[in-house]
Amino acid sequence: MDLINNLALGFGVALTFQNILYALIGCLLGTLIGVLPGIGPVATIAMLLPTTYALPPVSALIMLAGIYYGAQYGGSTTAILVNLPGESSSVVTALDGYQMARKGRAGAALGMAAIGSFIAGTFSTLLVAAFAPPLSEAALKFGPADYFSLMVLGLIAAVVLAHGSVLKAIAMIVLGIVLGLVGTDVNSGVARFSFDTPELTDGIGFVAVAMGIFGIGEILINLEKGEAREVFTSKVGRLLPTLDDFKKSAGAIARGTGLGSLLGILPGGGALLASFSSYSLEKKLAGANADPPFGKGNIRGVAAPESANNAGAQTSFIPLLTLGIPPNAVMALMVGAMTIHNIQPGPQVITSNPQLFWGLIASMWVGNLMLVILNLPLIGMWVQLLKIPYRLLYPMILVFCCIGVYTVNNSTFDIWIIAAFGVIGYIFTKLECEAAPLLLGFILGPMMEENLRRAMLLSRGDPMVFLQRPISLTMLVLSALLLIVLALPAIRKKREETFVED
């Protein structure tokens, strides 16, 4: 009964006129930006973060959540119509979705993506509502040592899921942590690595780093690639999938939802892993005699990953809301947003701020519903957007990034930071180092240090404390196992295969 009461409270918050409006604006803006090729959810949220400053915290978070779903859905639209996935989690959608579009069935693919996402969203929202309270209660028992070990596990998991070289991913995480340490030390008040620059004593702004790497860095990469786009604008076709499509996709949606919800909870995973693995699962299940074959426009290849990535997107809120630990880069941005609004994410949010907590959960469902209602009729408009040439697009993105980052602190210094991180992001992409782990390390770094120090203080400098506490020990053993598994050649190959899905 608690669940229903809580959800009622949540819907009470989410369904106020004001919050519905913000969810709507969020979804719209998110889709609007997300649909632009080459801009993923991280860049979208980073760019739109400043628009939420003026709002009350609940509305701001609801709007940001809306932006997130919108951006994700927008990414799928681009993937299907242009074969240019705006974000890594819709890469697999592009495989079959684009083929469907070429056969003139873009409408059915888009429709199925929306419907699958909605079903997955509904289910996983319920899941979040059911599991978040007990989990956050459990989280209250966590000591500093446990937290530290949990973050280690999270970071290692992020390595597993990063593309490319394991070594480089680890190096990126460590670099992220080090960058996160710039600024005044909380315990002693000593300015670290500030090189006598007053602006650096406050630390490097998280938003600035994210925008630099994911905003400007991406622009640089896109500018280099030049333009090669083929948009299916004229023949989107009817939006409603046929009965046959539904029959084929029902199982795929169900499996995608289940798998996605599960994988979303894992640290480091979220939507990306969910969509990749559910696609592989469908492909395996369908076997060689699928009709049409996977990769040639099978609707199950659209329905499954789309459901999975949406389910994963929802459930990745669980670690954030219960433990205060962001499982991926998007959630790391959410932490940034919450901090700006003076909310310390963690297990106490649910008790100290129930309106916010349940309101956010209820708004997840509202946001999903809105995506379906909004986007199906508006697809024509999004398609028009796809026609804007990139040479007009990128100066606009630049302006938004610059003004956005300036408004965070009213500091010109942050603008120089994004310029610097834009170049750094470009170099990293060139060297095949993924930036997402860096961002995660950047956010988790200071938290890790604090918990490490607290744990060491409590244990009077005895490092064995990490092995004596059962929770902490479990996490560390899991991390060690993950690392060992990574080192095994067989698994390594398999992992590479998963990410180079043809």
């Binding site: 002693s188 040479r391 630049l398 302006v399």
Partner: protein, 139 residues
């Protein structure tokens, strides 16, 4: 290629370790990480050296510095201009300079987009969200 990043990491870590060696308190955590990073840098560089022959064959990856330089200059100028010269001036600087980086330049479109951005940003950020920013050099 890998060597470059290895050195970057290594030098970075070296810097950090020195800065904190004197104070064990605040420097403890960074020191461990600095060491870790340096070690990783060496390994990455080592792997890179081993594979260098293979990389040379594929000619590595093309680096196009022109847009990088142009965009960086544009953004830095924006930062310099924003407070003394106001938002409108800065946006014009930013869009026009960054526009040079495009493959297919079209100056009329660029001018149009500049005007649109000026109007839009004034409307949304200054009048809509009431952010503290001046529009013109003289305001």
């Amino acid at each position: 290629m890998f060597l470059v990043i290895g050195i970057v990491f290594f030098v970075g870590a070296y810097n950090y370790s020195i800065g904190t060696a004197a104070r064990m308190g605040p420097g403890y955590f960074p020191r461990i990480l600095g060491g870790l990073l340096a070690a990783l840098g060496v390994i990455v560089a080592g792997v890179g050296l081993k594979n260098q022959a293979a990389w040379a064959k594929t000619e590595g990856i093309g680096w196009t510095w022109k847009p990088v330089v142009i965009l960086t200059v544009a953004v830095v100028l924006f930062g310099l201009a924003l407070q003394p010269l106001g938002m409108i001036t800065s946006i014009i600087l930013l869009t026009v300079i960054s526009g040079i980086a495009a493959h297919d330049k079209n100056y009329r479109e660029l001018a149009l987009i500049t005007v649109i951005m000026c109007l839009f940003c004034s409307a949304v950020f200054v009048w809509g969200l009431k952010l503290q920013m001046k529009l013109f050099p003289w305001s």
